[in-house]
């Protein structure tokens, strides 16, 4: 069953078009993450779905029902806000029951619902406190409780974790994921954090400039980004993008990232479309983990290697990142934790091109 469908949605504020023809079709039970840089229109899209903002054009269906003109309270949705938006003068209990109070639900039923949600979120001991007396993580839970108690067909989350510190954010992220697995309700979750997107989503919609750039499962987004924007936005550090020239060597093709043939990176998995670009300028996209320093201990496949100058290294403990110079481009490489190439030295880096992507330098779309 379709939980949410958005067709040809446009939103204009005065002369500024914030959303330019957005389409989304979401099945029941999915966990959709809308990800994109600040100001790209994520909150606007969420607000329009919730009915808090009016669409200029387009059609929205929630649970198979057209909702144009339906007020937010009747859309069968619940929303969690970035600032939590807890009612400051009410207790936690009051915050959770306020919606039911507005709908005239019987007192006993309200208390039963509060008890159920409080137990689920383990906030029973907080019910009589006011929001000002709670920590950030506790407020977050209460905000979730207020949403959960509505038992909607669709949950909307607008950057719910971005006001928490890093450690708590990871904890709450896992809890939200567990919650979804447990209750199975459809969720649309907005974030600008690509790690949150990758870890939570069943499908990710990457947004930029009022458009959805790509809508696919996390692995596809990561391995086959639709364009350079998606390639650079997803992944940390982002995918390396090197200007290159596509050349043919025998039956294979290679991307020449420098001035001479020594810098040619062979592309064994080249598709027919890629072959059509032989002799032209392209952008070669390689993830940092596909560029590494070979050593005797690791099982390195006999693959192409590239001479590069080490400009900087960043040991993080779990791995060592290196900024290396290949031809004109600066490239990030991910190495084993104890690798310590001397800064300024030239080393031969192994390149795994199995997942390399090519992009059209003009349109920035991926050449499939």
């Amino acid at each position: 069953m379709s939980a949410l469908s958005v067709e040809g949605l446009r939103v204009r504020f005065g002369s500024v078009e914030v959303l330019k023809s957005v389409d989304l079709a979401i099945e029941s039970g999915e966990f959709i993450v809308l990800v994109g840089p600040s100001g790209c229109g994520k909150s606007t899209l969420l607000n329009v779905i919730a009915g808090l903002e009016q669409a200029t054009e387009g059609r929205i269906e929630i649970g198979g029902r057209e909702v144009t003109g339906v007020p937010p309270k009747d859309r069968d949705i619940a929303m969690v806000f970035q600032t939590y938006a807890l009612y400051p003068a009410m207790t936690v209990r009051g915050n959770i029951t306020f919606g039911m109070e507005c709908r005239g639900v019987a007192k006993a039923e309200q208390q039963a619902a509060v008890a159920r949600v409080a137990k689920l979120l383990q906030i029973e001991h907080l019910l009589d406190r006011r929001p000002a007396q709670l920590s950030g993580g506790q407020r977050q839970r209460v905000a979730m409780g207020r949403a959960l108690v509505r038992d909607p067909v669709l949950f909307l989350f607008d950057e719910p974790l971005s006001n928490l510190d890093a450690k708590l954010r990871v904890e709450m992220r896992m809890e939200i994921k567990r919650l979804h697995q447990r209750i199975g309700t459809t969720m649309v979750y907005v974030t600008h954090d690509q790690v949150e997107a990758m870890t939570l989503a069943t499908r990710i919609a990457v947004m930029n400039g009022g458009h959805i750039q790509q809508f696919a499962d996390p692995q596809t987004i990561y391995d086959e980004p639709a364009n350079l924007f998606v390639a650079r936005f997803m992944g940390s550090p982002p995918m390396n993008a090197l200007p290159a020239k596509l050349v043919a060597s025998g039956s294979e093709i290679a991307a020449m990232v420098g001035p001479d043939a020594a810098t040619a990176v062979p592309l064994p998995n080249a598709t027919a479309a890629m072959k059509g670009w032989v002799g032209r300028e392209v952008v070669l996209g390689i993830r940092p983990e596909c560029i590494t320093l070979p050593d005797g201990k690791q099982d390195t496949r006999p693959g192409p290697s590239l001479p590069a100058t080490v400009e900087m290294i960043e040991p993080t403990g779990a791995e060592t990142m290196a900024l290396i110079r290949v031809g004109q481009s600066e490239v990030m490489a991910r190495m084993r934790p104890d690798a310590r190439p001397a800064v300024g030295s030239t080393a031969s880096f192994a390149i795994d091109t199995a997942k390399a992507c090519l992009f059209d330098p003009k349109t920035e779309s991926r050449i499939a």
Binding site: N47, P88, Q133
Partner: protein, 317 residues
């Protein structure tokens, strides 16, 4: 309440660490301290000094000039038993309640209306704030014209054709005090509105969205969520209006001159009357001291409430 970032008037700011500076840069600092010190001493001296002196005089039989023949509580008993003092306090009660509740209510309503429709907000805010810039004397004079049966509203409506229309509150013994209330509400509700609006605007905009999703009607949203969230501001406005009410003198002078008869006299008018019209300084001082006491009775609970709230909030105040 900490998230709503409401600062209360009179709430101390946390002390900031002062960086060390050379002695040269401390000269202007020292100068500031000396000047401020002199002014503060003078102000405290005048206020405390003259208050004590007034208390002293209130126990004497002073007439036009201060004399020091003490008569104990004589003036207090006489005042408490005089008709004019009883009328004045009854008037103060009617006026105080009507004015405070009226100005708060009108101010809150205006603030909510403006909060709902942001368009033209600046214009509206200015219009409603203008009366605040006027002195009570101007307000009183203008409303005296408006409410005067021979030249004001009554005449205007009759001019429109309703020749039997009557609006004679100003000259009615029992209703004239309500004219004072109306004029004072007109003057102060803009001020109340400005404070309430600032409070509403300081609230998180997502609160409105959360309330919309919860399905709260506008009335319920403001009564249950927004106004409680700006409660400290509401209390401040109530207290400011209360002490304005008790101090009111010039409005009555300009609007009704205390009349008809003594029907709209307030305690402040009585004080002035004794002190400067009848030349009974002892009795006038006693009236002033009683007024001060009533002000204290009102303000002390507020100060205690403030202290309690700050203590209880544990930094959340």
């Amino acid at each position: 309440m900490s998230e709503t970032a409401i600062t209360m008037p009179g709430q101390a700011r946390p002390a900031r660490p002062v960086p060390r500076r050379s002695w040269l840069s401390e000269i202007p600092d020292l100068l500031t301290r000396i000047v401020a010190g002199v002014i503060a001493t003078a102000a405290v001296g005048y206020v405390v000094g003259f208050t004590l002196w007034t208390v002293l005089i209130s126990f004497t039989d002073s007439t036009l000039l201060p004399e020091y023949n003490f008569v104990g509580f004589k003036h207090y008993w006489q005042l408490l038993n005089s008709r004019i003092w009883q009328v004045a306090y009854l008037n103060l009660t009617i006026y105080g309640l009507g004015f405070i509740l009226g100005a708060t209510g009108v101010g809150l309503l205006l603030a909510i209306l403006i909060d709902q429709k942001i368009r033209g907000e600046n214009v509206l805010r200015t219009i409603y704030l203008y009366p605040m810039a006027l002195s009570f004397v101007v307000t009183g004079t203008v409303w005296a014209w408006l409410l005067n049966p021979t030249i004001g509203v009554e005449q205007f409506v009759r001019g429109l054709g309703w020749t039997q229309f009557k609006f004679g509150w100003l000259v009615d013994r029992d209703l004239a005090i309500y004219c004072v209330v109306i004029a004072a509400i007109w003057q102060a509700s803009g001020f109340a509105m400005a404070l309430f609006l600032a409070g509403l605007r300081s609230l998180d905009g997502d609160l409105y969205k959360a309330a919309a999703i919860d399905g709260a009607s506008p009335a319920r949203m403001y009564l249950r969520i927004m106004v409680p969230a700006i409660w400290p501001i509401v209390v401040s406005v109530l207290v400011i209006l209360l002490q304005t009410a008790i101090k009111t003198y010039d409005l009555v002078r300009a609007l009704t001159a205390g009349g008809p008869g003594i029907a709209t006299t307030l305690p402040t008018n009585v004080v002035y009357d004794y002190m400067f019209q009848r030349g009974l300084m002892g009795a006038g001082s006693a009236a002033a001291v009683m007024l001060l006491l009533s002000l204290l009775i009102v303000l002390l609970p507020y100060a205690i409430f403030q202290r309690l709230r700050r203590g209880k909030g544990g930094g959340h105040g």
